[in-house]
């Protein structure tokens, strides 16, 4: 079966400038994301998640190992993924709609089609009124909605979301999670989702991969079998609380475990 993403035996080390030998960031990282699957990657900060994204996005080359997107090896190739970074990263001199159009045309859509899609979907998520506004007038949550829409509409086999709600306040974050959940459950795109938040990962994902601290490797894989569509009601589910505690134990720093 063709996977949206396949990562096999990925190693990455950087040359240390202070001659302490190469610094290992990723060690033998292997996982896959099936078509239409939502997979979260959770791990302590500084565990090489950004590096992993740069490798998948083709900005950097792995020391060894293979990356396949949609069945094809894409090492060092850019333009195979839809991407949503932690900061909304909207061009301040482009209107909301023009920002979406820019991303879609870079992803290969024809200009008129991109414009049509942008307007249609902005209306659908209730942001139609902001189409001709400039991003700085939008709240952080609204900017992230635009940023997510931009990734959702890009016709790519894989969506990579890099801690997309990390910079939002707790309340906005909760709203965004359920909002994203409802949109995604409709579209069923293949997603790689990086987060720090255990609840967030549990609420959204089909599967959770737990990364160790540097040098990072995958220490645990957890199936999240709650039926969809899901809602916040899940938070009080005993099974949810149990998994939360298990994950919390895994992510505790080594000193705290003793």
């Amino acid at each position: 079966m063709k996977h949206a993403l396949e990562v096999n035996g990925l190693h990455k080390s950087f040359a240390d400038t202070r001659s302490r030998g190469p610094q290992q960031v990723l060690v033998d990282v292997s996982f896959h994301i099936a078509e239409g699957e939502f997979v979260s990657l959770i791990g302590p900060s500084g565990s090489g998640k950004t590096t992993l994204f740069h490798l998948i996005g083709g900005l950097e080359l792995p020391t060894s190992g293979d990356i396949r997107i949609d069945g094809r090896s894409t090492i060092g190739e850019q333009g195979h993924i839809a991407y949503m970074p932690q900061q909304a990263s909207l061009m301040p001199w482009l209107t909301v709609s023009a920002n979406i159009e820019l991303a879609l045309t870079i992803s290969g859509l024809e200009k008129r089609h991109a414009r049509q899609l942008a307007i249609e979907w902005l209306n659908r998520i209730g942001l139609g009124g902001t189409a001709n506004q400039f991003p700085h007038l939008l709240s952080g949550g609204m900017q992230q909605r635009v940023s997510f829409l931009r990734a959702l509409l890009s016709p790519k086999p894989l969506m990579c979301l890099d801690e997309p709600f990390g910079a939002l306040d707790a309340l906005t974050r909760m709203h965004m999670q359920t909002w994203l959940l409802s949109l995604w459950e409709e579209a069923k795109r293949s997603v790689l989702f990086v987060t720090h938040s255990i609840e967030e990962a549990l609420l959204l994902s089909d599967r959770i991969l737990v990364l160790s601290s540097a040098p990072a490797t995958i220490v645990r894989e957890i199936e999240v079998a709650f039926p969809r569509p899901r809602s916040e009601a899940l938070w009080s589910d005993p099974a949810f609380v149990g998994m939360k505690q298990e994950l919390y134990g895994l992510l505790k720093p080594a000193e705290a475990r003793r």
Binding site: Q78, A82, Y83, P85, Q87, W93, I106, S107
Partner: protein, 252 residues
Amino acid sequence: MGNKRILPPVLVLALFLLIWQAAVALFQVDAYLLPSPIAIAKQIYDEHEQLLRHLLATLGMTLLGFGAGALLGFVLAGLLHLIPGAKAGFYPLLVLTQNVPLMALGPLLVLWFGFGTLPRVILITLVTFFPVAVAMLTGLMQSDEKLVNYLRMIGASKRKLFWRLELPSSVPHLFSGLKIAASYSVITAIYAESIGSSKGLGYYILLAQRGFETANVFAAIALIVLLSLVMFGAIALAEHLYNRGKVKGETS
């Protein structure tokens, strides 16, 4: 808001002119040494036809040189930025061009290109391209890291990155470069007109000085200052309109 910024310097200038006028009257300074502001104003009025002719000549040449210089600076910055290694090789030489004294360069250009407009426009171009190029280059390199990262992640080519990110984000820098270049271009035009030319305010000053017509010299200086201010103001206005254009979408 505009009043608050314009009023203080105008008041200071008025006070300065007042003291000047009073001092000239009080100490009975000879007109060939220092004419009074009123005398200068009268001179401008009396000579206005001639002054206007020279002013227009200067304006035309300034605009030509400034336009060519701005364009050259803009294109050069783009090329140095886009061609790998070009910046490392050419940037130091760019700085070198600004170390050639105009006093040496001007007559040489006249020698090579004749007494027409061409050598003077070249001189202004050579002076004005530099601040534009330097400002642009700085702007091109200072694009927001997270925006660069985002566009690269979704597969934007180097060309797309330039047109859609680096160029638009360097516009504020471009405007500061243009403002400096505008002031330089007027001063350089005046100098260029003083070497083997027969028109323009620079030429007019030269003649006035030779005849000890100090009031005429000051009349020309007043017009030159005015011209500089207008050039500067036009660019500031363009910048303002550009920024307003970005805001206008908010209400539509």
